[in-house]
Structures are given as structure tokens and as C-alpha cells.
């Protein structure tokens, strides 16, 4: 009887979270890359299962799962084996291992170039700015969900989003200028991507 009940608990958890799997996988893919996304999502969902008794309202389930996923993925990026590299290295479009690195347009296509410029500019942002943009546009989270996940008021997230968009616009404009002057491949402003990682940790 008890074993059946335990089994039913696991099955029920799997059933309840099933509609949220695409969102969890998407957040994981945006933060740790598509290659590691399933592993990170699985770890997040198992942690969710272990902490399931702390959740009292199904209404909060979606945000709760996303918060766990974001935390697992940020931990993942800070991992023991020198994963600062993952945060400081620029987008590597050849290996496809970096988050958001998979480009689905044909090389040489104008869309491909635009996407590459956009993602390169995104990489050049500071950690906080990049994080909010990645979570909103690539992980598909709204400001409230991002705020809950990071423990920051949603109004602050909106402010950061606006500021991040402004910075990204400047980077893209700078990139455009560099392209026009023929100095392709040079990072605008000499800005290193994700070099303010401590700002995230502070929250």
C-alpha cells in the first residue's frame, strides 16, 4: 500500500510537471547550452522532486520550477572545474557548446550575419545585462519570473532589461561602425563579456 502510494507520488509529480518541461528545458538550454540542457533540466527536476513537499500551491509550480532551473544552471556555470571559462569566453559558434550558439540560417545569408552580430553583441554585455536578456528572449521568461528566479523585484528586472537593451543597441551600432570601417572581428570598446559575474552572485 505504502509502496504503491510512493510510486503514485512519483508518477503524479511527473504528470504535474509534464506541461512545464518545455519551459524548463528552454531555460536550461539558454543558460548552459543545448548540449548540456537535458542534463541540467533533469537535475533541476530531480531537485524539484526532492523539495516538492515545500510547494503548497500548484499555481506557483511554473515559477517554482523555473527558479530551481535557473539556480541549478547558474550553479552549473560556476562549477568546480574552472567553468568561469564558460562565462568569460566569447560565443563559440564552431563547437555549438556555448548557450545560444546554434545558428540555424545558412552561412552567408544576411539573416545569419544579423544573428551573428546580435549574439556577438549580446556576448559583449556585462553578466547582469546578458543574463536578463537571455532569460527574457531566449529562455522565454517574463520580468516577474526572472525576478522570482533571481530574487530581485520585477521592477528592477524591467529597469535592467531597458538598460541592457540600450547597451545592446550601442554595441550593435558600434559593431556596425566597425564592420563599415573594415575591421571585422574586433570587439567594440574592447569590452570583455561577462566580466562582472560577481554582480550576479551578490543577489
Amino acid at each position: 500500500m505504502t509502496e504503491m502510494a510512493e510510486q503514485a507520488d512519483g508518477e503524479r509529480y511527473a504528470a504535474v510537471i509534464h506541461p512545464h518541461l518545455p519551459a524548463v528545458l528552454r531555460v536550461a538550454a539558454a543558460l548552459v547550452g543545448t548540449a548540456d540542457a537535458e542534463d541540467a533540466a533533469q537535475e533541476a527536476l530531480l531537485r524539484g522532486w526532492q523539495a516538492w513537499h515545500t510547494l503548497h500551491s500548484e499555481v506557483a509550480l511554473h515559477s517554482w520550477l523555473l527558479r530551481i532551473t535557473v539556480n541549478v544552471c547558474l550553479d552549473w556555470q560556476r562549477g568546480r572545474f574552472g567553468t568561469q571559462r564558460r562565462l568569460v569566453e566569447p560565443l563559440d559558434t564552431t563547437t555549438g557548446k556555448h548557450p545560444l550558439a546554434s545558428i540555424d540560417a545558412d552561412p552567408g545569408d544576411s539573416l545569419h550575419t544579423a544573428v551573428m552580430d546580435l549574439r556577438q553583441a549580446l556576448d559583449s554585455l556585462d553578466a547582469n545585462s546578458r543574463l536578463v536578456i537571455v532569460l527574457r528572449y531566449y529562455a522565454g521568461m517574463d520580468a516577474s519570473e526572472i525576478g522570482e528566479a533571481l530574487g530581485i523585484p520585477s521592477a528592477t528586472i524591467r529597469t535592467r532589461l531597458r538598460r541592457a537593451l540600450g547597451l545592446l543597441r550601442m554595441r550593435l551600432d558600434g559593431s556596425q561602425d566597425v564592420h563599415n570601417s573594415g575591421e571585422t572581428g574586433k570587439q567594440p570598446d574592447g569590452v570583455e563579456g561577462m566580466n562582472h559575474e560577481g554582480e550576479i552572485h551578490a543577489h
Binding site: 506541461p19 563547437t95 555549438g96
Partner: protein, 274 residues
């Protein structure tokens, strides 16, 4: 059952960025489109659901094994609650409509439960003492004979005299070779970790990390071992495209951090794509 949520990709998040200046609005659209295009290429969640179901089943099995032995009051309370015909364990009796309670919280044990737990413990100790006396009298001190039987994949008894630790860890990968595969093709590697535990332990949780890129990053994970279990397997996968520069797949390794520190051999599929 919960209602299906709309895919966040379809949400416009209206109100998040109201009053955005014109020059940023086009960037907002560009990012939205790129995000949607990027997310459309993500793998389906079917495999994730299967992996999760397998893990939950495994953890349920381990939890059942533990709860059938441990006379903990929380476990007894849980059993009492479920045996009473409640369809789902409830964390509170004052739940309001629209609010569900997922799982039994550890509760303050009542006096009766404490008594039952104590009685169960005494009975268990008496049973164990009787067994020890029987073995000592009729079979000398050959109780540990089964320690010489390194059979894997089975329980070797549930005596908890042996400290719980990981003796060794094996790692294998399938497919073991990518020779002959075309560069640019997609592949999925399945890594199987086998933990070897001494027989006769009380079980516990193994915490470990695995790396798929020669230590540049690692993934924390854990598995639960039932009492007496001598081997435990854990599977993880890695999917990707075989690059022309042969940087993937890289070296994989498993590092057990608790209860003992053990490292597997390094594993990498042989050969290169062409």
C-alpha cells in the same frame, strides 16, 4: 491535473517593456524573433520526460526500501495517513480551495507514533541479537563469508556493519567509437556510470560530479543506494554535432565526492569523424 500553460515563446510579455523607445523597439522585436527561432530548434522533451520517469522510479524504489526498514516516526505518520484512504498525502488539514498540497511533510510525531517507533526499534534490535547469537553458536564467526563474493548487481544482505562507501566507479560510453561517422552529423552518447559499494552497508546517497569536456565544466548529481546494494548505475547522455575540428566528444570522467573520494577512468569514444 494542471491546465496546459501556453509556451512562453508565444507570450508577448505585454507590459514588461511598455513605452520602449522606437530605436529599442526594433531590437526588442529582433531579439524576440531570434529567441523564437532559437527555441524552435531545441530538442523535444520526450527524452527528458523518460529520463525523469526512470530516475523517479529509481528514487521511489530506494525510498521504499529505506522506509520499510527505518522506524522513523515521520515514515510511520506517512503510512498512517495513506492507509487511512486519503487519495494523496496532505501537508495540512486546513487547505483552502484551489490550493493543493503535494507531499507529506515530516510532522511532529504523536505520542503513539513515538511509542510504535520505539517498539519497532526494540523488536528490530532483539531480532538482530538473536540472529547474531544463532550465527555465532552454530556457524562460528563466518558471518562475513559473503564479503568474498563480488557479485555485482544484487543485494548482499542488509547488515549495516560495513561503512557505506564507494569502492570504485566504472564509466563506459556508447557508442564507443565514432570512426567512420561523418563530421557535421548529430550524435548522442550514452554514458553509464557503475558505482561499486561494499556488501552489507546500510545504504546512503552518493554525491558525484561528471565532466564531459575533460574537466572544463562538471555536472553535480547524486544517486541513492539501498541497504545491501552492491552496485548502482547512473546514466547520462550528451548530444551534439561532430565538429570538423574534432573537439567533440571530449574526455568524460566521474568524480565521487561523497561518501568517499573515488575517480573513474577517463573515457572518450575512439576514432574521429571524417
Amino acid at each position: 491535473m494542471p491546465t496546459e500553460r501556453p509556451d512562453p515563446a508565444d507570450l508577448n510579455h505585454a507590459g514588461d517593456l511598455e513605452g520602449l523607445p522606437t530605436e529599442l523597439r526594433s531590437l526588442d522585436r529582433q531579439l524576440t524573433q531570434d529567441g523564437a527561432r532559437w527555441s524552435a530548434r531545441l530538442p523535444s522533451t520526450e527524452r527528458l520526460a523518460q529520463r525523469l520517469a526512470a530516475q523517479l522510479k529509481e528514487q521511489d524504489g530506494a525510498a521504499n526500501s529505506r522506509s520499510s526498514q527505518a522506524p522513523a516516526s515521520a515514515s510511520l505518520a506517512s503510512k498512517t495517513s495513506r492507509a487511512s484512504g486519503s487519495p494523496l498525502p496532505r501537508a495540512s488539514t486546513s487547505d483552502s480551495p484551489g490550493e493543493i498540497f503535494m507531499r507529506q511533510q515530516p510532522r511532529q510525531p504523536r505520542l503513539l507514533n513515538r511509542f510504535l517507533a520505539g517498539a519497532a526499534l526494540v523488536a528490530l534490535v532483539a531480532l538482530f541479537a538473536a540472529f547474531a547469537i544463532y550465527v555465532t553458536v552454530f556457524h562460528g564467526f563466518g558471518v562475513g563469508a559473503h564479503t568474498g563474493n563480488p557479485t555485482t548487481g544484487s543485494n548482499q544482505g542488509t547488515s549495516s556493519s560495513t561503512p557505506f562507501k564507494v569502492k570504485s566507479v566504472d564509466l563506459s560510453v556508447t557508442p564507443s567509437s565514432i570512426a567512420g561517422d561523418a563530421c557535421g552529423s548529430s550524435v548522442t552518447f550514452t554514458y553509464t556510470v557503475t558505482f561499486h559499494i561494499p556488501s552489507g552497508t546500510a545504504g546512503g546517497t552518493i554525491h558525484f560530479q561528471y565532466t564531459l569536456n575533460n574537466g572544463r565544466s562538471s555536472t553535480p548529481a547524486s544517486v541513492t543506494v539501498s541497504p545491501g546494494q552492491t552496485t548502482k548505475q547512473y546514466t547520462f547522455t550528451s548530444s551534439g554535432t561532430l565538429p570538423f575540428d574534432h573537439t567533440y566528444p571530449s574526455v568524460a570522467e566521474v568524480m565521487v565526492t561523497s561518501p568517499s573520494s573515488v575517480t573513474s577512468s577517463q573515457v572518450k569514444p575512439t576514432g574521429t569523424c571524417h
